[in-house]
Subunit: 196 residues, 4 copies
DNA sequence: AATGAATGAGTCTTCATTCAT
DNA sequence: AATGAATGAAGACTCATTCAT
């Protein structure tokens, strides 16, 4: 007897992600997903209990990925501003390299699948913890504005996401100069500085 | 003969908007919509050709509303910064007063309904024109950074949207102080100023 | 108060006939019929109880017409063969001038509308009586084969109908020569004669 | 895995045929057809794309059957008259054994389903070719009237069909004597002979 | 484990009929 | 009588899930 093939789970998730990016979450059909993943419909049900399970697993999968990627390259021997610049850069790269992620998460959060407040899903918000920690640190040091760190994060995230969206739409690549401009926008927005 | 009730079209749209906000665009069922709107299923088909027509009309309807509301209160005798503050405030209020709008637009743009590039729909992007004009003006006067105005708008929009999202999530109201902080973030981000 | 407009009934029937000829009996929609007839939907229901009533009335209407037209020109001072030639000619002309009639009757008889053996409708088979009378007369005189006259009539009718169908399909007009050939076919078929 | 059951296609067609004979083509409902065929609604859609596909396939199916059956027993060592007698007999038997065929074809040709001139369907008219060939042969030999063979075929077909209709209506069986009479009618109609 | 045929509940849409004006 | 907007039952079709192989 063959045992459950572990790579198949990943294949299913990645295929689902790609298809949702094209057709939308509501357009995802199990039979299409199976075909696209090179499996039979029934096989999907061996790996996941049902459609809902696939989609919820996809969410945690994506969030795990992003969390890991965003913190890549953060070491202790660099300045706070540098750390935030790296996080922003990482996140921007992530948004551009895997636009499917954002598309999916956005749709997931608006979909009936996320309304049931699964504990597993809620637990995820902890993935922001390292970032929040950084911001609090900055506030204490008088470098970053003293405000609810969640608000600041959302402001930054919004900017980066809409900027990435803009880049993807126009097909332009990120230039160092433009990224510097964006980061300046963000840093100017969150840091304490002297007005002109 | 009962005469064709002109308000019904609006009732249908508003009901649809409210329902999409709760159940998502893909969860919208014509029979539920009819019931909720106090009509028979068949009646919807008197006012709109089919489900797709309702949803597309809803999009233009929402965009029209937002465009109008956002520019409210802009007069010529105030400074550029003031104008942008008002626009931000208007948009923030809009986002909070009608969160359905953003929810719907986001879902619509990801849905199969928006893929067909209807001319009518594309024509809408012109609703940003007055804002772009303002930004260009500011750039020429050396007040606003000299960058693609679309990029700047997206950065600001992202911040406001994520901030509004945050407010809605926590249930907090906007305070003057916090709005001032947000606007400062934005203004600092787009304007030219002396670094600390 | 205006009284029921008698011409409207005819307009409804004729319009229905024309539409059935194009779209088929099953394709007939009351609202289309009303529009085409220049009336409101509701108005049809003043003149006929429901769709079924319209269609059944149409059947008796068509049968009355055909019965009248087919016997036109039959006088007592002509030979039996001549009478039958005229009847054939009349019927052929009818088939070509009003192809709607045959289309409708054929469809009606196959439709759910005719299954309920309405007495009124069954009574119609009497419209063949004069023709049967003629055939019996011919049999007694040793001119026409001694067989069930209904069988003979069906044989002739089938030939004429399929011939008319052929003419309508090709768009050709009846020529005297060809009609003579067809009538010869029929007369040869029903009359007693010497074989070659 | 259950393997795709090839007989199901036939079961669906035959069930459809029987149901159309009773309720008419326009009365055919997919859900009833499925139930009657012992299948779930969805299963029909595995074998046929949609209702239209079922009905069109039914047409080619019926025509294939009739073409085969009508030419059964035709060998080269019999006279022309004998061949035509056999064809007539075969067609008559077909009409009586499978009255559904004629009922369906008649309704199909009047229905919206046949208006789109599918090539596949048009190609079918070739099924008359062997008969036309026979008639032309007879004409050249001076046995059969020199007329458009299509016209002659339609005349004969009309007679046989109306005669079969008569038999089915009365519930009588074909007797040799009566068939001989009918064939005489036809043969007298198409052959060249001496008048009385 | 793997397959994909089979299932049937759930949707959109049509259209005969009714009814307020 | 006339109108046509409103109704809702009925029908075609989809697709998540099950099940026989």
């Amino acid at each position: 007897m063959r045992s459950k093939d572990n790579t198949k789970e990943k294949v299913i998730l990645n295929t689902a992600l790609a298809m949702i990016n094209i057709e939308g979450l509501s357009g995802l059909k199990i039979s299409d997903l199976a075909k696209q993943a090179g499996l039979a419909t029934g096989t999907l049900y061996i790996y996941y209990q049902n459609k809902e399970a696939i989609i919820k697993r996809l969410f945690t999968y994506v969030v795990e990925q992003v969390t890991l990627d965003v913190m890549r390259g953060i070491t202790s021997n660099i300045t706070l501003k540098e750390k935030i610049r790296i996080i922003c850069m990482n996140y921007l790269h992530e948004l551009i390299a895997y636009p499917d992620y954002k598309v999916f998460v956005e749709q997931f959060l608006r979909s009936p699948y996320s309304k049931q407040e699964d504990k597993e899903i809620l637990a995820i918000s902890t993935y922001l913890e390292p970032v929040i920690h950084l911001i609090n640190e900055g506030s204490e040091q008088g470098i970053i504005k003293k405000t609810d760190p969640f608000v600041l994060i959302e402001l930054c995230r919004g900017s980066l996401e809409n900027y990435a969206h803009q880049l993807l739409n126009t097909g332009n690549a990120i230039t160092d100069v433009e990224f510097e401009m964006v980061f300046e926008f963000i840093w100017d927005g969150i840091s304490i500085h002297q007005k002109q």
